[in-house]
């Protein structure tokens, strides 16, 4: 989250801390999800903590960290099925997110959403989404609401490279452009659409060119360089805040893990993965802030994650009655007829 200090060293540490917390969270969630879903040849285990498909953003930490460092708490974001990083970077509680992944009553969504539907409205996080590109129109609407009430907030909309092949991507870009909405489109390009290389499925020069074709200009950036993401997002957001209309950030990164946590991703070329691991955003940032500070921050993040896993493990389950709340007021109680 955007803070008072713009001291470059402190900012570097803050960016690294944001990334380290995401990495530590993803590693712990991955561990807790083993056996959580029967897919990709993995078998289902009954006593697993994190059930169902878990989409990890390991390796992509620089994008949410760099973008959200330029957002205020009152600004809003929409996210994707791979949304833990966006949620943490926007300032949401790690504990409440881990509790949600563990399906506990104390999670952000009271156990009703899980990983794919994490939301924390108190920090403007309007929801992860199980449907590719579905967060785009919602972000457009949130930004349009800001415009209608002459608010000062901006909305950042995270989506993946796969989303640029869905209709709502074009619809949302066009809508944001004609209404000059305060909206930053962030294409977090991890180069894989589930288990298919996005390049094989995508015609033309790519995400930014598609945005530019409807008059939404922006920047392409190395999405593994948190400082570059920070600078690019900062520059685009300054323009948006000044009334410059929607902008586009294309951040190219890499998905270290499979589509879901149990996917070994054997369909990927080993050399491609090895090259990507050499471009790990964590050591890249560490080189800028120094190994001693980096280790201290990582240790803190690990300690925090260890604590939240303990909290989540001990947290209460939702009462079965709560399956029947938060649905609708009109006709509430009419669950069977």
């Amino acid at each position: 989250m955007k803070g008072a200090s713009q001291n470059p060293t402190e900012r570097g540490l803050a960016l690294y801390r944001s990334m380290a917390r995401i990495r530590a969270f993803e590693d712990a969630a991955e561990e807790a999800s083993k056996g959580g879903v029967s897919a990709f040849g993995a078998a289902l285990s009954q006593d697993v903590m994190v059930r169902g498909p878990l989409h990890l953003s390991t390796g992509q930490e620089a994008v949410p960290a760099g973008v959200c460092a330029n957002l205020f708490r009152t600004d809003m974001i929409t996210s994707t099925h791979r949304g833990h990083g966006h949620t943490l970077a926007k300032g949401a509680s790690m504990e409440k997110m881990m509790c949600e992944l563990f399906g506990r009553a104390t999670g952000f969504n009271g156990g009703k959403g899980g990983s794919m539907h994490i939301a924390d409205f108190s920090v403007g996080m309007l929801g992860a989404n199980g449907v590719v590109a579905a967060g785009i129109p919602i972000a457009v609407g949130a930004a349009h609401a800001v415009r209608i009430r002459s608010g000062k907030e901006i909305v950042a909309c995270f989506f993946g490279d796969g989303a640029i092949n869905r209709g709502p991507f074009l619809e949302g870009l066009n809508w944001a452009a004609i209404h000059k909405l305060p909206l930053l489109f962030v294409c977090e390009d991890n180069r894989w659409s589930a288990t298919t290389a996005t390049s094989a499925m995508t015609a033309g020069p790519g995400a930014l060119a598609r945005a530019q074709s409807v008059g939404v200009d922006g920047l392409a950036v190395d999405g593994n360089d948190v400082f570059a993401v920070d600078a690019a997002a900062g520059s685009l957001l300054a323009t948006i805040r000044a009334g410059g209309g929607p902008k586009f950030l294309h951040a190219v990164t890499y998905r270290f893990k499979g589509h879901v946590s149990v996917d070994p991703a054997t369909y990927r070329d080993g050399q491609e993965v090895a090259r990507a691991l050499e471009n790990d955003p964590m050591p890249f940032a560490e080189a800028k802030i120094g190994a001693i500070e980096a280790k201290r921050i990582r240790d803190e993040a690990h300690a925090e994650v260890k604590r939240v896993v303990e909290v989540a493990t001990a947290a209460p389950w939702p009462k079965s009655d709560s399956a029947y709340t938060d649905i609708q007021d009109t006709g509430a109680g009419r669950w069977l007829a």
């Binding site: 929801g127 457009v140 609407g141 009430r149 949302g172 609708q328 009419r334």
Partner: protein, 316 residues
């Protein structure tokens, strides 16, 4: 009281809601011009383009943006032009609008009204003539409304905007010009309207079919069959108490709807009444065919007063 047609009645209901609450906005294709059926006429002039928003032909984003607006505190009324086009926004309706409140554990509500005129529209063929209320009634989280008169289109639209839930609002495309007296009386969601008392048979219907049903009931009187007619008005939550109460008294339930009979909402009502009361139930609905363009083909998809009368007389 004022004499208004079905479109004007809705427009005046929306105008009152927009006047009372600055969070209410109207949005959709051609709404600035008053909507293709005149159901938004004059609103742009009164409220300006900030609140009466013309949109691109982008159904996904019209619905999705409405969800985002609702989550950000507005009360959008969105126009889908016809229910058939709302199918381009099914993800936004079913996966987003209907689910957000629940999935997010009660953080945020999606109070919006999605107007999607339905039903057979003379000569407009298979992609502009469907009645899809059963689809939406099947989705937890949604309210489904089908007004059949100007008064109800006025009152139910206001109630839908006020309720705070996502409402699928199904006006009928062949009712726009129908006139009636419209007053300021409140119309409650979930309440059927008793249109005609009778003792031999309960006829439940809604939307445009109400007129034909009343005509058939009138005719049945002449051969000594006393038919009670209920206009359901809200499809979900449907007025179970009123339907059960009437069916218990008459001992027979006939549900009549323009939608395709198979897996239509009449099946749900009939099953519930049969399970609860053990009374005899029958359904009359459209055949399971797409609506054809040519008049003789279109007629095959329509229900008529004569057809309903026949169903009443055959139900002994």
């Amino acid at each position: 009281m004022a004499r208004l047609n079905y479109a004007q009645a809705a427009c005046s209901g929306l105008e009152q809601a927009m006047t009372a609450d600055p969070r209410v906005i109207a949005m959709g294709e051609d709404v600035g011009r008053g909507g293709i059926f005149g159901q938004y006429r004059g609103l742009l002039q009164k409220f300006g383009p900030q609140r009466v928003i013309d949109t691109p032909i982008s159904e996904s984003t019209i619905m999705g943006a409405a969800v985002g607006m609702a989550l950000a505190g507005l009360k959008p009324v969105v126009e889908m032009r016809v229910v058939d086009f709302a199918l381009c926004a099914m993800d936004e309706i079913v996966n987003q609008a209907a689910k957000a409140r629940y999935m997010f554990g009660g953080q945020g509500r999606v109070g919006l009204v999605a107007r999607m005129p339905g039903g057979i529209w003379s000569g407009s063929a298979a992609q502009h003539s469907q009645s899809l209320e059963a689809w939406f009634a099947h989705i937890p989280g949604l309210v489904v409304v089908a007004p059949g008169t100007p008064q109800d289109n006025h009152g139910l639209l206001a109630a839908s905007i006020a309720c705070g839930d996502p409402v699928i609002y199904l006006e009928h495309k062949e009712l726009w010009g129908v006139e009636g007296e419209v007053g300021s009386e409140k119309v409650e969601l979930g309440k059927a309207k008793l249109l005609r008392s009778g003792k031999d048979l309960t006829l439940v219907t809604w939307s445009r079919t109400v007129g034909a049903a009343l005509e058939a009931a009138q005719k049945a009187e002449s051969i000594g069959r006393s038919v009670e007619v209920l206009d359901l008005r809200t499809i979900w939550p449907w007025d179970r108490d009123a339907v059960l109460d009437s069916s218990r008294r008459t001992g027979r339930l006939l549900v009549v709807h323009e939608a395709v009979r198979s897996a239509g909402f009449g099946a749900e009502i009939a099953a519930e009444v049969a399970e609860t009361l053990g009374v005899r139930v029958k359904r009359l609905g459209g055949p399971r065919i797409p609506v054809g363009y040519s008049r003789p083909l279109e007629e095959e998809a329509r229900l008529s007063a004569a057809g309903i009368f026949e169903a009443i007389t055959a139900f002994q």
